[in-house]
Symmetry: C2
Subunit: 257 residues, 2 copies
């Protein structure tokens, strides 16, 4: 039976613990700097709580460093254990953990929220490790909670992280910009939700480049000009409209070559 | 019983006919310039086909002009009927139809595909008409096929169209850019689909501006710099990354004021 220990008590920690609780993996405990917070976390899942890093159990198979990128290196240097230490970051090289013998990365491709529990089974987990053997251990763990486990290189993981910013952060920002624009016209953003759902539904049966619609891909200059005119007093949004419309037109030209 | 006639045999025409076939609305026929194409369309739904505009029935309640924006005015001038003539455009002013006595717009907020049949019940329909009475007729028709009918002003309809470009066309383009970037790294775009689904799922219980995650909203300059470095040889994508990241940071600053 594999045993794991969770360092950190934020969103990823919650999701990992909930996922492992459904498996045969033993959760040896959770560490958090804030005693009250880590006690509350541990009580919720009935697992041991630790607020002193020097006292965490030393014999677990895998230690999950679920802290933010900025403190991964710092905290990893305070962790004195023999087991495999992994961070959960899409961007940090695993070499920041190289003061440990066994180290790696265990990165779920998801934007976790505190309140919304996503089904981990469908979340791809990217694995990278310092050795073949460590990679197999992480794969065994990941397979228990997800159906989509990928062994990746550092460049692939970082590329996925960058692409995730495009599809998640930037799309969401476009939603926010649209909502603010509609609010200024006394229109409910709810009216766009079915369209947004269909936009995403399409990627399940069509490559995005073939699903492109709208004035830019049609080279419908008249509509583009009307939109730009409507944004004449909203220069930041006009700039984004212009940059993305040009990009769509540019990619269309490329694919026609 | 209301009767309608469909001018045009493209994607919107297909979706409208399929929706009205489930109601008590009588579909008096469909017009298309291409005889073979309109015959095939009409046969599919067992409705009369017309390829001569001067011969279409003159006594229907509502005529749907489902043609592209560029030819709405031209074709509307060839339509000699007494009933209410509406276009299905998000952008065109209804005044382009003012050579008719009764005119308006009947615009479903959706990006229709040929093959994928969306459930019309959930598609918002925006209505604008030349008179109160015409508006009520369109509302009665729209209510039969959709649960989300909105009477809008021209400015509201055009604003919704612009916002639809942001959330649909631009998001899809970001998906396409991400897919191309990952392809260059030999990574499957499929790995991002659960994240994209969750991005959209979130808008159902959270305003987009509060759902924003990622390096820009966290002011995580280290990650942003790593991403930019990874895009050093992809200047068009670097530019988009930069513009949208700055916009997220800018909006964060505004909301903190």
């Amino acid at each position: 039976m594999l045993s794991v220990f969770i360092i950190g008590n934020g969103k990823i920690a919650h999701h990992l613990v909930q996922a492992f609780l459904k498996t045969d993996v033993q959760i040896a405990g959770v560490y958090g700097r804030d005693i009250a917070k880590v006690n509350s976390f541990a009580a919720k899942y009935q697992i041991p709580a630790y607020s002193d890093l020097s006292k965490i159990p030393a014999q677990c198979d895998v230690y999950f460093l679920t802290v933010s990128d900025q403190v991964i290196k710092l905290i990893s240097e305070q962790v004195k254990v023999h087991g495999l230490l992994v961070h959960c970051s899409g961007m940090m090289p695993i070499s920041v953990l190289q003061n440990h013998t066994h180290y790696g990365s265990f990165w779920p491709i998801q934007s976790f929220s505190e309140n919304n529990m996503v089904d981990f089974k469908n979340i791809p987990i990217c694995i990278e490790a310092s050795s073949e053997e460590d990679s197999r251990i992480l794969e065994a763990l990941a397979d228990r909670i997800s159906r989509k486990v990928q062994i990746v290189t550092q460049d692939q993981r970082q590329s996925l992280h960058l692409a995730a910013v495009l599809v998640n952060n930037f799309s969401n920002h476009l939603f926010a910009l649209a909502a603010a624009f509609l609010e200024s016209k006394s229109i409910s953003f709810d009216l766009l939700k079915p369209l947004i759902e269909e936009t995403v539904n399409k990627i399940n049966y069509m490559e995005p480049r073939y699903a492109q619609t709208g004035p830019a891909i049609r080279n419908d200059i008249a509509t583009i000009d009307m939109h730009k005119k409507a944004l004449a007093e909203n220069l930041p949004l006009l700039h984004i409209y212009d940059v993305l419309s040009r990009s769509i037109i540019e990619h269309k030209d490329n694919s026609n070559e």
